[in-house]
């Protein structure tokens, strides 16, 4: 039998859903197509690589919240391989396949 859960649970879901939508809508909605200053726009362009690097690198080199080179170096090598291919040729499927293959290959070899 599947369950509907508690009223509190659904209140929490509704709160998170509405709040998250407001975050997503914030600048899209309230700037309403107005241009930011050139400085702010430049900052935003740089914020994209900054935030994705901050998102990606811990996922690659950290394990259980700690920097762990001994277990994560195959992932780092896999990431570099995927990055080099993406730089050279672009695309996404092939870099992912290369990254996974290199990571599993290096893991198997060690």
């Amino acid at each position: 039998m599947s369950e509907w859960g508690s009223v509190n649970g659904w209140l929490a879901i509704a709160g998170l859903a509405i709040g998250t939508f407001l975050i997503r809508y914030s600048f899209i909605g309230f700037l309403a197509g107005r241009r930011l200053s050139p400085l702010a726009e430049r900052a935003l362009q740089l914020a994209v690589p900054a935030i994705f690097a901050a998102l990606v690198i811990p996922l690659v080199v950290m394990h259980n919240g700690e920097l762990n080179w001994a277990t994560r170096y195959p992932h780092a090598i896999g990431m570099v391989a995927a990055g080099v291919y993406a730089w050279w040729r672009g695309g996404m499927l092939i870099p992912i396949i290369i990254g996974m293959a290199v990571m599993h290959g290096v893991s198997a070899l060690r």
Binding site: S6, A17, G33, I57, L59, G78
Partner: protein, 248 residues
């Protein structure tokens, strides 16, 4: 005669919009494997937190942001007050304000209804795919159709993977390390964007700060790393511009 021409044009527009929609859908398919392990974990966790199977589906469909769903269920399982659980989930999603600001500069001229659609499906994947397409300089007619094509692949699939976890409790063998496709997909998108020294500096500083500040609660380290990386990028930008001006 004119009417016929207008109709032809309308058909042409419709066709181009459909083509953009399917291009978005096709390009998003590669994100799907990365959703499987995490979606299942979120589904299992939601049931364990007492949301019920349908609650797990509701969270996946309405929130559509895995990390915050995981934080919400974690706090609810731990018996935290409702407001605190919701607020914690929202802090995790603050990075989307950065995406919102960046995308707001790409959607000038969009109607309110269109802006609501842009916002509703704003996640890491749809954002970075749209941004990458923009930076490759592809012509951005029917940008919303492309974006929605992407969303209509990954949003239902996200709900599906949560359902697998919630209803079947199914798990992918951990040894496959499918979750490693998440950082790989972002690397593939972001690396081609690193065209200037400033971009590279921003990414490097963001990466270092991201690791150093990882222990901060609720992914707030991510926001701090974003700010730090952006500032470093701006400094490098200013420095090289000035040097360039001097050499002139």
């Amino acid at each position: 005669m004119t009417e016929v021409a207008v109709t032809d044009e309308a058909i042409e527009t419709k066709r181009a919009r459909l083509a953009a929609f399917f291009a978005g859908a096709r390009q998003c398919i590669v994100f799907m494997p990365s959703y499987v392990p995490f979606g299942m974990v979120c589904g299992v966790a939601a049931v364990q937190a007492g949301l019920g199977e349908w609650g797990a589906l509701g969270a996946a469909a309405l929130v559509f942001a895995g990390s915050s769903q995981a934080v919400l269920t974690q706090f609810l399982s731990g018996g935290a007050p409702l407001l605190m659980a919701v607020a914690s989930g929202l802090v995790v999603n603050l990075r989307m304000a950065v995406y919102s600001a960046a995308i707001s500069q790409r959607v000038s001229g969009a109607s309110r209804k269109e802006r609501v659609l842009w916002a509703a499906f704003l996640v890491d994947q749809t954002f970075i795919l749209n941004e990458a397409r923009h930076q490759r300089g592809e012509h951005m007619n029917h940008a919303l159709a492309f974006y929605l094509g992407c969303a209509m692949v990954i949003w239902p699939f996200w709900i599906f993977t949560n359902a697998l976890g919630a209803f079947a409790g199914a798990k992918v063998p951990a040894s496959w390390q499918l979750d490693f496709t998440i950082p790989l997909s972002f690397v593939a998108m972001v690396v081609p964007m690193l065209k200037t020294r400033a971009h590279l500096a921003a990414a490097l500083a963001g990466a270092i700060a991201g690791v150093a500040l990882y222990a901060l609660p609720l992914k707030t380290g991510l926001i701090a790393a974003c700010v730090f990386g952006t500032c470093v990028g701006m400094l490098v930008d200013t420095f090289f511009k000035r040097k360039h001006e001097v050499s002139l």
